[in-house]
Symmetry: C2
Subunit: 374 residues, 2 copies
């Protein structure tokens, strides 16, 4: 384990809410946090003294930024990996650009899972009409088609269960340079998730299993801790994978709970919405944990729960009015990202609550969330 | 209760660690936090985008700063009240300049307590040698002499129990323009403290009673919650006082636990070291609570404890070496203020821990604090 000096110069590529919360928790630790983002009103740009205006896809801006920081990370894995690799001094970005490349592509991500015998939906690459027809047949007319790169919150994802949908997608497929992946549609009971973290010092930590609830392909709420008899074994397998690929930082693992057991849906090589609850419900939150990983510190051995149950609710934009709220009446924790526009479905902030059970924590948010008008 | 719009422009006068933690918790709430301080490496200057270089004792700098913010607060009550009153637009600073004046002066502070029949040590103003001799006689040769203004952490405070000490202090008394107060020396079993908060909406909240431990006149650790049969009644009396003087914000109340009951030692009209534990041990911390007060929000009705016991340990500078630490091994929360110089006794950061009892929480800090070398 590395002995730390105060005020390590750390950098974040990107200025959204994940970058903002990384910045705030880094500042709490006394880190000298730098942010590279496009606009001075970006959520993360508002909370640091050391903001660099620039484009995370510009080689010149990246080089300038890496000249200021000792170690950096990113809030989105959908960057130009070639450009990033060339602009990043060796060992100065975690997770490494190579791993960003591996994990930003849903095909190579799936191949990584398959290689390590981690249960996941059957899949195949789709580049042509013939591939799509083959997938249709292989997966018995029940499949999900996803862009290999740059998809999120349902964008770039298509569910196919009727032949007419197949023909509609042919044009799209042939015009998409990065290609598609087809996956067998999974019947699941619940969606679950957990975070796993690996430090530069090789230490591993996992955060509790949680249940996530999506509406319109966007996460609306999370509650936990959840239980599944196979979770512990799966976490162990991921610890092995992270070591094998020399992954440093936190990773979000999204799961389906099915009659046949847990199946991995997607991986996010970064801090993740499903673990925002950790800011208020755990002894060590995901953002702090990510910094500990990058700084080569040991990780807290147990995720100290501050209550038997917790829940998180995303405050999504409506565009109907200027947001407003009444705080304080209830024992909720309120986090606001400072976004300048209230767009429909946009993640504007979140609420967390603790309770004697996950359900009670969630119920207490449901009861009070009307105090938050978006 | 006021309905809040996002990104209210709030200001903090001063740039130390109290301002830094106010800023960080304000940013979490989505407030647009501005800081006025002298140096860009001040602890609070490092964590906000909107930093104004200036002097909190300069009328021009204050006026410039109040032009940028809708409401402001301060981290130290020892400002020039006349100058502040003139430079502050009406209703724009809380607690109000008038109350800063009342509470920064230990004599008028004591008079306020006496007026409301709140138990405190007997006292008298001391401006001359004759006053001091009268106090010596009145308090039976056992007294504390304090500067009326600008004393802190034992600075400006003198314990007198031997006649030779009296004669030594005569010169000092006659050269101090703001005068002194003499207080009867109190025999106490423990030092305790609590925070009370009053919102612009008139709502009141109190945080748990805690035990504080001083070494060399500086707070070393705090543990809680503590019990005292008279605490509830005293808190109620303070609620009445705060309403009476139209106080808005949090107030730290330092107490002596004596054989004759609780006696108030000092009041701090601001966030206070004795409640730093609240960042990790309560559902709503003292910094967030202070903002809720200023914004006219209702206050959480109960201080939701995240564990049956908690403790806080100040990381004090030694000047012996460059600080370093190993995080993560234990379930401690680490807060670092980013001060540029490691001076002996200086508050550089703090640790908090939760536990099944206050004593166990404190013991877990004692066990691990050697990982933090200052």
């Amino acid at each position: 384990m590395k002995e730390l000096k105060p005020q390590v110069k750390v950098g974040i590529l990107g200025g959204g809410q994940l970058a903002r919360m990384l910045a705030l928790q880094g500042l709490k630790l006394g880190l000298d946090v730098h942010v590279l983002s496009a606009r001075s009103d970006d959520p993360a740009a508002q909370v640091v003294r050391h903001w660099t205006q620039g484009n995370v896809e510009s080689s010149a801006d990246l080089k300038k930024f890496f000249g200021k920081v000792e170690i950096a990370t990113f809030e989105s894995e959908f960057l130009n990996v070639d450009l990033l690799s060339k602009a990043t001094p060796r060992g100065r970005l975690e997770p490494k650009p190579k791993l960003m490349g591996l994990l930003q592509d849903r095909l190579t991500q799936k191949q990584l899972l398959a290689e390590h015998k981690i249960p996941t939906a059957d899949f195949m690459a789709v580049e042509t009409e013939a591939d799509l027809l083959k997938a249709w047949s292989l997966f018995d007319g029940r499949l999900i088609l996803k862009k290999r790169r740059f998809g999120y919150d349902g964008y770039g994802t298509f569910k196919l269960t009727h032949p007419s949908e197949v023909s509609k997608l042919v044009k799209l497929i042939e015009n998409e340079p990065s290609g598609f992946i087809a996956e067998a549609l999974i019947d699941f009971d619940r969606e679950l998730a957990f975070m796993i973290a690996r430090s530069r010092s090789s230490d591993i930590a996992t955060l509790p299993l949680v249940e996530t609830h999506q509406e319109n392909s966007r996460c609306l709420w999370v509650k936990g801790p959840s239980r599944n008899p196979k979770a512990k074994q799966l976490m162990k397998r991921f610890a092995h994978v992270l070591k094998k690929i020399d992954y440093v930082g936190v990773m979000g693992v999204e799961l389906f709970e099915t009659a046949k057991g847990l199946m991995v849906n997607e991986l996010a090589p970064r801090v993740h919405n499903s673990a925002h609850y950790s800011l208020d419900a755990l002894g060590c939150d995901q953002f702090t944990l990510h910094w500990l990983c990058l700084l080569g510190q040991n990780l807290p051995k147990t995720a100290a729960l501050r209550a038997p149950g917790f829940a998180m609710w995303n405050l999504l934009g409506s565009c109907e009015r200027e947001p407003s709220w009444n705080l304080g009446d209830e024992n909720l924790n309120f986090h606001w990202y400072g976004k300048s526009e209230n767009r429909p479905g946009r993640k504007m902030g979140h609420l967390t609550a603790l309770g004697s059970t996950p359900e009670k924590a969630l119920a207490s948010i449901r009861k009070s969330r009307k105090s938050f008008a978006l």
